[in-house]
């Protein structure tokens, strides 16, 4: 099946004279602002790099968009995908990826998906933009933003984020910092672990750890931050609003643009060596200045101006 499709693709590309607009279907999990930003950026970027057929003929791409949480959105998308010749699917969000995973004959690009590995079951030729922020970046941002912070507290489940913490610990040691990590097997233990960290740390990391992080534990961490006057570095903007000081978030526009780059390559017929291919990520640092002021933490915002 896969080979047949490639034959077709090669034939089309090789024929050179056959001009056809690329049909791109965008499937989006929900209508939230980050997804919208990514989609917008994707469309813009892809339109700037239109499909080029052999003899440099320019063709505009044809975009069709579906939002799964819209009434009947899922069914409409499925109907469209089976009845139209589609050149590419862009999945924005985890649910969109799970949905698109079933159409394994259509090239797939995904973005804004934190757990792409567990969601890709059938599709073996999908390319996506990595969502998570690597430990190196966490250490770097913590060091730059909070120059006085030396002891970094973190509550983690060894099964989920054990590797991340290990890597971070090594990196921070290089920077002259120290990770004070306590493992927790479940969310119910988090409070007790936090109690152990009282007075021991200068900054608390809140990691995207499904085992450990629940609404209750997130709140407990934020309360701990408030009580101990320890800034929290987190991974999502929503915690920033609730009391975290620094958030290391993916740049949603960049996520869209990176997906566009992948898509463009795929449409042009670029081969993928492995089943999956990810492009370099970009992160943004968002700061809740009000919290910083309240906590009295020394915040080097000048560094932020330089971009990430």
């Amino acid at each position: 099946m896969r080979r047949w499709w490639f034959v077709i693709l090669l034939l089309v590309v090789g024929s050179g004279g056959v001009a056809r607009a690329s049909e791109v279907v965008i499937v989006q999990s929900a209508r939230i602002r980050p997804y919208e930003e990514a989609r917008q950026a994707f469309r813009e970027a892809l339109s700037r790099q239109p499909a080029v057929s052999g003899a440099k003929t320019l063709h505009p791409h044809q975009f069709t968009e579906f939002v799964l949480t819209d009434g009947g959105g899922r069914e409409a998308a499925a109907r469209f995908l089976v009845s139209h010749p589609v050149d590419l699917i862009l999945a924005i969000g985890g649910k969109a990826l799970s949905f698109a995973d079933r159409f394994r004959q259509i090239p797939l690009v995904y973005t804004m998906v934190p757990d792409a590995g567990s969601r890709l079951v059938f599709h073996d030729r999908a390319a996506g933009v990595p969502f998570s922020v690597p430990p190196r970046r966490w250490v770097e941002v913590t060091e730059r933003c909070l120059p006085r912070a030396r002891r970094i507290g973190v509550v983690f489940s060894p099964g989920e984020t054990g590797g991340f913490v290990r890597e971070a610990r090594a990196l921070s040691r290089v920077q002259g910092m120290q990770i004070v990590g306590t493992g927790a097997r479940s969310a119910r233990e988090v409070r007790a672990r936090l109690e152990e960290l009282r007075g021991q740390i200068d900054v608390l990391w809140m990691l995207p750890d499904l085992r450990v992080l629940t609404p209750q534990t997130a709140e407990a961490m934020l309360r701990f931050s408030m009580e101990e006057r320890v800034p929290v570095v987190t991974f999502a903007e929503k915690y920033l609003r609730r009391g975290a000081m620094i958030a290391l978030v993916p740049d949603y526009r960049r996520m869209g643009e990176a997906a566009a780059a992948l898509a463009e390559r795929l449409l042009r017929g670029g081969s993928l060596k492995t089943g999956r291919r990810e492009v370099t990520r970009r992160t943004r640092v968002r700061v809740n200045a009000g919290i910083a002021k309240k906590l009295g933490a020394f915040l080097d915002t000048a560094w932020l101006g330089g971009g990430d």
């Binding site: 939230i32 969000g93 995207p208 991974f235």
Partner: protein
Amino acid sequence: MSAEPAGLTFRTRVLFYLLTFVLLLTVALAALLIQAQRTSLRTQFEEEGRTLVHLLANSVRLDVFAADQKALLRSATPVLQNRNVEKVVVLDATGEVLMNTGGGQEVSQGAPVLGMGTTGAAPGGGAAGGLPRVVLQEDGERIVFWREVLDRLAYETPEDLYFDGLGGSASRPSVLGYVAVVLSKEGLRRETRAVVGRVAVVGGGFFLLGGVLAFLVSREAAKPLARLVGAFREQGIMVESHDELGALRDTFSSLVTRLEHAFATIRELKEGLEQKVDERTQELARANDELRRARDLLEERVRERTAQLEAMHRHLRQTEKLSAVGKLASSLAHEINNPVFGIRNVLQELHRKLDLEPEDAELVALSIEECNRIAKLVRSLREFNRPSTETPEWVDVHRSIDTMLILCKKRFARQRIRVETSYSAEVKRIFAVEDQLKQVILNLLTNASEALPEGGGTIRVSTAASNGIVKVRVEDTGCGIPEEHLERVFEPFFTTKSAASGTGLGLSVCYGIVERHGGRIQVESRVGEGTAFTVELPIGEGEDERPDPAGG
């Protein structure tokens, strides 16, 4: 005013009504106010309970999740400090009591755990934005507010860690446990009592104010009445009664009766007066009439007297004139008479003695004739003013007239004049000079016949007697005398006839004769109709009529 028992009654009545009104108003307002306040208090109370239970449910979420009893107590403390809160109960999802601050089991046993669990987890509940349901349990002493403690126990997908609003079952919260806030009704009761007390105070104040106002109003309202009553008393027309209004009513009706009497009297008086005025007016009118009549009479008399005076004056003037003319005429006649007689005698001598030619004899005879005529004229003149030489005697008036009529008979016949006589039997004889009387009658008859035309006419001679005066009247149907001549006809030599026929002495001679007899002669005439001469003569001396000397 207040000392008068009658005055108090009206005022008291007004005051009583006003006070009753104010009291009712106060009570009604107070009842309304209290009801509204109670409702509002109760709503507030429930609102407070709901707020508290929401607050509690949110603040103990973590503690319930962690089943941390110490933390629970800490989290519940702010709620417990509310003075209405009796106690706080927290259960976990299975209904196990995590905390019961007040002790006692009755509340936690009554927890509607199962019912809430199903409703709370209903689709679209809790997390959709609205607050979870609060269940109220109420008895006499307290109200229990139950609420679930809801939260999402975990994030289902890594994406949920990052983003909110993704939708799907992941966002549905689970029931972590239950909280109950027990509010004592004591506070509500206390506040209600306080409200009632305040309203009572305000109502009392309102009533007092209303009472004072009512008092003032009643006083003001009673004032005019009191003044009226006072005025009536001063006038002494007040009928005493048990209250002012009754007294006024009685006074009024008595006044009305008196007024009716007064009006009746006035009406009667008026009618009498009108009648008197009528009578007086009639009297006045009568007097006025009499006065007018008297004035007319007076005027009439004045006119008459004036006329008499004028007539007398005229008469006097005429008399003077006539007498002067008469004297002149008689002296003239006397001077003429002798030469004329001398001339006639000479002529007669001549005629007798000389044998004259017939023509000469004729001339002489003519001259003698003329002389006779002059003599006759002169005699007439002398007659006019001659003092009566002949002695008067009793003369039969009718016979004198008849004699004169016979004398003229021939002439009247020629002239075809009809003569009518109408003699009064009372006229008999008068004491007068007969010749002169006859002369007067003859002159009047002659003038009448001369006034009548050739074709004839009527001469009427009538007599009458009254008060010793005999009237002889000679009328004709002749040409009449113009008015301007009437005054002059008695003047000597006034004539309208030709020199041959008239001398103008006839009437003046008549006038002289009648004057001498102490009578009057009057003329009435109208041109074209006729003339009437009336001679009035006194019957004469002695008045007693002597027997006819002729022997009847």
